[in-house]
């Protein structure tokens, strides 16, 4: 079945909306933007062919209002909706609403989104598909001696987790059998008071995991391929900040095994489109299924840069009902790509969002640099949405070259008006462990226990800024003095103008 797609509504904003609009234009498709009030002049509106208002300010009033978006798509006769990431991208109800209105939702079916969006259901699906999961007790603990045996079988350290839990409550890391019983009791009582449910279970604790994920693409003809891995171990608040492909630790053999695992869960669930299967990888390179993201990821450009495929273009092909343009044999990773997310955030103050006007904004360029951004010079970063300014991607034949290019590009990047995570990214690029590829999801805490100190200005840099302040102050004052002197000599231009017009009246 072939679907005609000539016009796509992009139900998103910022850099991803710009990225998708570019993908549309690469396919000769009309790109339709939608925008909130503060985004009227945003880059995604300016780069798109058509743009319609969502009338409102916050995400809840605009980009999340399904009916408004469907209404616009119908009235402008869009054939499909691309949700980007975030907002409605993993909303099964929205995918269903699109189908009901005969609009193609660019993504998997509502059933697949729903299944994989539920962590427990996804875990069951992964087990059925034969994916490795972190060893865990099969049910909640009732009998302490039995639980001890189970913990011993799983192997210490173990994690005691609340069955009803979340947010770290009712969670305990246990390093040996001696401390097991006390930890279990504490976790259970904490879970009881936090969730009114004291059930706990045991899971293998992975001490220093890497976060490594596999990009998959599937069409409606039964073809499923993987495009290799991305390593996203550098995270703050469980959010990725630096990603790369390939991973420094993934061998050809491990890549094949992880890729096959990702393909098998995609096949088992009837996955269609672009998706990502996330894994945790332990120090012995065992990998464990984490979850599936049923959308285009923020970090997809690193995969595009090493494989050469345009993932948005492939998404559109699949949505049109065509076969993927390539097979597994065609996927070859060439060279290395790294992505640094540039957020309007003050990393030294704990990654606090900084909003404001980009008084000066100049992106780096040159060999091996790609930048996907959502803003232009003079734009204001609104307070209402994610503070991601841009994704800076550098490539090279080797990881070392990509890192060197990243350092060069970060130093070339000019952002005046708001604080950004550029200094933080530089700190990581110049860090010895990072350069050696020694990563884990605890990287930031491990390497920079005092991040604010690590990020402080160098003496020389601060002195130059102090000199600049003195010189600019001097120039401004001498200008004021010069203007005042000039006025004293010639008299005020206003007075002069008044006199001339006064004379005219007489004439």
């Amino acid at each position: 079945m072939m679907n005609e797609i000539n016009k796509i509504l992009i139900a998103n904003r910022g850099e991803i909306a710009v990225r998708v609009a570019r993908g549309c234009h690469n396919c000769g498709i009309t790109a339709v933007a939608v925008y909130s009030d503060p985004d009227r002049t945003a880059f995604h509106v300016r780069v798109s062919d058509e743009a319609y208002p969502l009338d409102g300010i916050t995400s809840a009033e605009t980009y999340l209002v399904q009916e408004k978006i469907i209404e616009i798509a119908k009235s402008c006769k869009a054939d499909a909706i691309h949700p980007g990431y975030g907002f409605l991208a993993e909303n099964a109800g929205f995918a269903r609403l699109c189908a009901k209105n005969n609009i193609i939702f660019i993504g998997p079916s509502p059933e697949v989104i729903k299944l994989l969006g539920d962590k427990l259901e996804a875990r069951v699906a992964a087990i059925k598909a034969g994916l490795p999961l972190a060893p865990a007790s099969t049910q909640d603990i009732e009998d302490i001696p039995k639980a001890k045996i189970e913990a011993g079988n799983i192997g210490y350290p173990v994690l005691i987790k609340a069955a009803a839990g979340g947010g770290g409550k009712g969670m305990r890391i246990v390093n040996d059998e001696d401390s097991f019983e006390a930890a279990l009791k504490m976790a259970a009582s904490e879970a009881k008071s936090a969730f009114g449910d004291g059930r706990v279970y045991i899971e293998k604790y992975i001490a220093r995991p890497r976060h490594i994920e596999i990009q998959i693409m599937a069409d409606t003809h039964g073809n499923v391929v993987h495009l290799g891995e991305r390593e996203c171990s550098i995270q703050r608040r469980h959010q990725k900040v630096i990603e790369e492909s390939p991973s420094a630790v993934v061998t050809q053999d491990l890549r094949k095994r992880m890729g096959d695992a990702a393909i098998s869960i995609a096949r088992a669930t009837g996955y269609v489109g672009a998706g990502t299967v996330e894994f945790l990888v332990d120090e012995d390179l065992n990998f464990y299924f984490l979850e599936v993201n049923t959308r285009l990821q923020v970090e997809h450009p690193v995969t595009e840069m090493v494989t050469g495929f345009d993932l948005v273009k492939e998404q559109i092909r699949v949505a049109r009902g065509h076969k993927l343009s390539f097979t597994q044999e065609d996927v070859v990773q060439r060279g290395h790509a790294i992505e640094c997310r540039i957020y309007a955030e003050d990393a030294a103050a704990g990654f606090v969002p900084c909003t404001g006007k980009l008084a000066a904004y100049q992106e780096p360029a040159g060999p091996g640099v790609r930048i996907d951004s959502g803003f232009l010079a003079g734009d204001t970063i609104p307070v209402y949405y994610d503070p991601l300014i841009a994704k800076l991607v550098t490539t090279g034949r080797t990881r070392e070259t990509a890192i060197k290019r990243m350092i060069r590009a970060l130093n070339e990047y000019i952002v005046h008006g708001v604080d950004t995570t550029i200094p933080f990214n530089l700190l990581v690029m110049e860090n010895e462990s990072f350069v050696s590829g020694i990563l884990s999801t605890h990287f930031i805490e491990d390497e920079f226990p005092e991040l604010a100190d690590s990020l402080s200005h160098s003496e020389e840099e601060l002195e130059i800024s102090a000199m600049a302040a003195a010189i600019i102050d001097y120039k401004q004052h001498s200008k004021i003095t010069a203007t005042a002197n000039k006025r004293a000599e010639t008299g005020s231009p206003w007075k002069l103008s008044g006199r001339v017009s006064g004379l005219r009246k007489v004439w």
Partner: protein
Amino acid sequence: MKKVQVSTADKSWDFVIREEDGQMLITQNGSDHPVDLIRLGQSRYSLIIDGHSHEIGVDGSFDGYRIFNGSRSEKFLVEDFELARIKKEAGIEDTVKQLNVIAPMPGLIIQINCSEGDEVAQNQPILVMEAMKMENDIKSPKTGTIKSIAVALGDSVDKGQVLIEFA
């Protein structure tokens, strides 16, 4: 010729600026540095000091200058050297040194971890604000004593609003 003192919350520099035959010079600790400052736009300058090229941004929308140099920014107060000396002798603190805690973004105060009269260290988390769906620690900009807390739990605040004043 002008002698100035430039200061941040915890550092200060003395500079002399003068012009000789159209060449601007900045002097620090007795050594002269030739300077060339060209304005590129509203708040953007190209600065060459001793042959080193810098791209500088300026935000002058408060008492002093917020200087963007490379990818970092810092707030500076520029004062006449004599005036700064007299003020110091008279025990008057300047505005950058007083540094109240202001809201970095609009949001909701969900936690207050300090009381009036508390001695706090620089970077010590003193408040928690909820903004952009995240909990953000607000840290003390300096070591000092808290004079007053201008907000209460559950208050929604605007960007730039004073949250805490230092003694």
